[in-house]
């Protein structure tokens, strides 16, 4: 008998929707100068940061005066890095002695759609301590994968969202949870 091959790669489309990264400019930044002279900037003095939006890699960066910059909105890790570099280049052109240092992707958000619906209560019961489900608070069951440092939110529709430190972990998390979801799929019975 042919062993039932369980393909490790689920033929699921994992769509990365957001990549969050940080980097430092290693120099103090004058937010007011950036707000006045920068292109496509939103100065928020009440919070103490400047938002700069880039078009090419659609990213939005929060710039603090300490020189720390958080870059959000990228759809891939490479794009995140490219956008961050462009951002640093913009600041450099404004006149600050910017150094592109300590670039790190801190969060990746991906969504995936299962071809089946899921019985969340059963799923939660099967994965008691790891999964938590509070329908009054949130309609999704939350499943934390410790070793991957990833969190999967499972919706009864079969959609799941995965957040992890990098894209690889996210992909691994999807693969990890797929069989668990398969057990609890809502079949038409």
């Amino acid at each position: 008998m042919e062993p039932v091959e369980q393909s490790n790669d689920v033929a699921l489309d994992i769509i990365i929707t957001n990549v969050v990264s940080v980097f430092r400019t290693r120099c103090h930044l004058n937010l007011r100068t950036i707000g006045l002279e920068g292109n496509n900037v939103i100065y928020k003095p009440e919070v103490g940061k400047v938002l700069m939006k880039l078009r090419k890699p659609r990213i939005t960066a929060s710039i603090w005066s300490s020189g720390k910059i958080i870059c959000t909105g990228a759809t891939s890790e490479d794009e995140a890095k490219l956008g961050a570099r462009r951002l640093a280049r913009c600041l450099q052109k404004i006149g600050f002695k910017v150094r592109f240092s300590d670039f790190k992707v801190v969060n990746v958000l991906a969504v995936c759609s299962m071809p089946f619906q899921i019985r969340l209560i059963e799923f939660t019961k099967n994965n008691r301590p790891i999964a938590s489900y509070e329908p009054e608070i949130h309609p999704a069951a939350s499943y934390r994968i410790k070793n991957l440092r990833a969190t999967v939110q499972v919706f009864s529709t079969g959609n799941i969202t995965v957040t992890g430190p990098n894209v690889q972990n996210v992909a691994l998390a999807v693969e990890y949870i797929y069989p668990l979801l398969l057990e609890c799929q809502k079949t038409l019975v």
Binding site: R26, G35, G38, N40, Y43, L54, K56, R89, K93
Partner: protein, 462 residues
């Protein structure tokens, strides 16, 4: 009151409002018993308004027009109408009234200058004493008298002038006259607003009236106790009117500007009189109306008009100076400066918020400017070619030397339009990449044409 009435009618304000205000003011005045025993001198042959106390006939209260009392009428005419109570009738004597005029007790008279004289006892208003007194005083200040008289003359017929009664002129009035005239300009602030000011109050209108075309000398040395009680902000008004005094002589002395000044003075007098007539609100309304009626003039020199008015008010020692405060607001002379300041502040404050939008909107337009003073945004991309050579490239773990590779921002940023909007913002809103602008008070240059707007709403996608 008449002019107010007309203005009210023009604006659609209910006649009743005017009447109510007048009644209210009159009742307050009577309640305060401020009007007592005014000594009245000669009568102003021009129109003057008789404010009958509440106990007089209400028939006098005709919303339409003032009741003209023929000169020959005596107290009977008034008493006949004293059937109503609680209402105050205001009517003006025709200019043809010949003195003496008998005024029954309880009538409140108001001179053209706006002074109120409460007639507690039946009095006869004649001209004779005025001529004497006024002639003495007017000589030194003939010019000003001419101004004021002309002003009063220009005042519409509804201007109420009160001919002072022929009661014995208080001796203090005469010495007060010269002192008043002399001290008119510089010393007005010093003149106490209380009873001591009362004699000067009637004095000033007297010379002004003296030079009227009708040449009916008017003296008004009668006391004017109304002011002291009724209006508290006298010191304020006096101080406020002090600048006016300094300016008034300047304006008055100029022949060319006399007409304009006179008009302002007329308006001021009108406003003053109305303030006397009605409550302060009424006075404010009147002032607004007057200002509106004299809008062309006021627009020219609102500040001077205001100051002239204040000057006149001060000359007359009016407690209606309280109305000056309101007139200030209505004339909007000071608000102009305030607006400018506000605009500057708002523009400065909005600069931060606006700059980003300006940058987004005019990014390409500003590219070539490279941070020129007018525009706060400088297109970094446009400066890339110029700045790349200038910007230092720091070596580090990941050198940003690749300014060429990294900065590809120029591509989408080619606008090259000079369409500029300079305005204030009410609200700027953004959702993701959808922007909504709620702007106000702006000037824009679009397609080479200039536009002005008080409100503008815009939407844009970034």
């Amino acid at each position: 009151m008449e002019s107010i009435r007309e203005l009210f009618l023009e604006e659609g304000v209910e006649e009743r409002v005017l009447e109510d205000l007048r009644q209210l003011w009159e009742s307050k005045v009577l309640q305060s018993k401020a009007v007592e025993g005014f000594a009245k001198d000669s009568i102003n042959p021009s129109n003057f308004v008789l404010q009958l106390p509440a106990n007089f006939s209400q028939t006098l209260q005709k919303p339409t027009a003032s009741v003209v009392i023929p000169a020959g009428q005596r107290a009977q005419s008034f008493t006949a109408k004293a059937s109503h109570t609680g209402t105050i009738a205001t009517f003006s004597l025709p200019p043809g009234v010949t003195y003496p005029v008998h005024i029954p007790a309880g009538v409140t008279l108001q001179t053209a200058s706006g002074h109120l004289y409460k007639v507690n006892v039946p009095v006869m208003v004649t001209q004779a004493p005025n001529q004497r007194v006024s002639a003495q005083v007017n000589k030194p200040l003939e010019e000003q008298r001419n101004m004021t008289t002309t002003i009063t003359h220009n005042i519409p017929a509804q201007m109420t002038g009160l001919c002072p009664q022929t009661l014995p002129v208080p001796q203090a009035s005469q010495p007060v006259l010269p002192s008043l005239h002399q001290s008119q300009l510089p010393q007005h602030p010093n003149i106490p607003l209380d009873q001591s000011s009362q004699p000067p109050v009637p004095v000033t209108p007297e010379p002004s009236i003296n030079y009227q075309s009708s040449q009916s000398p008017l003296e008004s040395p009668s006391e004017f106790t109304l002011d002291g009680i009724e209006f508290s902000p006298q010191p304020v008004d006096m101080s406020a009117s002090s600048p006016l005094s300094t300016q008034l002589p300047v304006g008055l002395q100029g022949d060319s500007g006399n007409a304009q000044v006179l008009e302002f003075g007329a308006s001021a007098q009108e406003m003053v009189e109305r303030a006397v007539k009605a409550e302060e609100e009424a006075a404010a309304m009147a002032s607004t109306n007057d200002t509106m009626s004299l809008l062309p003039d006021l627009e020219r020199t609102p500040d001077s008009a205001l100051k002239l008015e204040m000057e006149l008010l001060r000359d007359y020692n009016f407690n209606e100076l309280a109305s000056i405060v309101q007139l200030d607001g209505t004339c909007d002379s000071s608000s102009e400066a305030g607006e400018e300041e506000q605009e500057q502040d708002e523009e400065d404050q909005g600069a931060v918020g606006e700059n980003e939008f300006l940058g987004i909107i005019n990014a390409e337009a500003l590219k070539a400017l490279q941070g020129a003073g007018a525009t706060t945004d400088t297109s970094v991309s446009s400066c890339s070619d110029v700045d790349e050579a200038d910007v230092e490239e720091v070596e580090e773990e990941d050198p940003l030397n690749s300014g060429d590779d990294v900065s590809e921002q120029d591509i989408p940023e080619i606008f090259d339009t000079e369409n500029v909007i300079v305005c204030q913002y009410d609200k700027i809103h953004r959702s993701k990449n959808r922007w909504k602008f709620y702007l106000k008070d702006g000037i824009m240059c679009y397609s080479g044409k200039d536009y002005v707007f008080s409100k503008a709403v815009g939407e844009a996608e970034w």
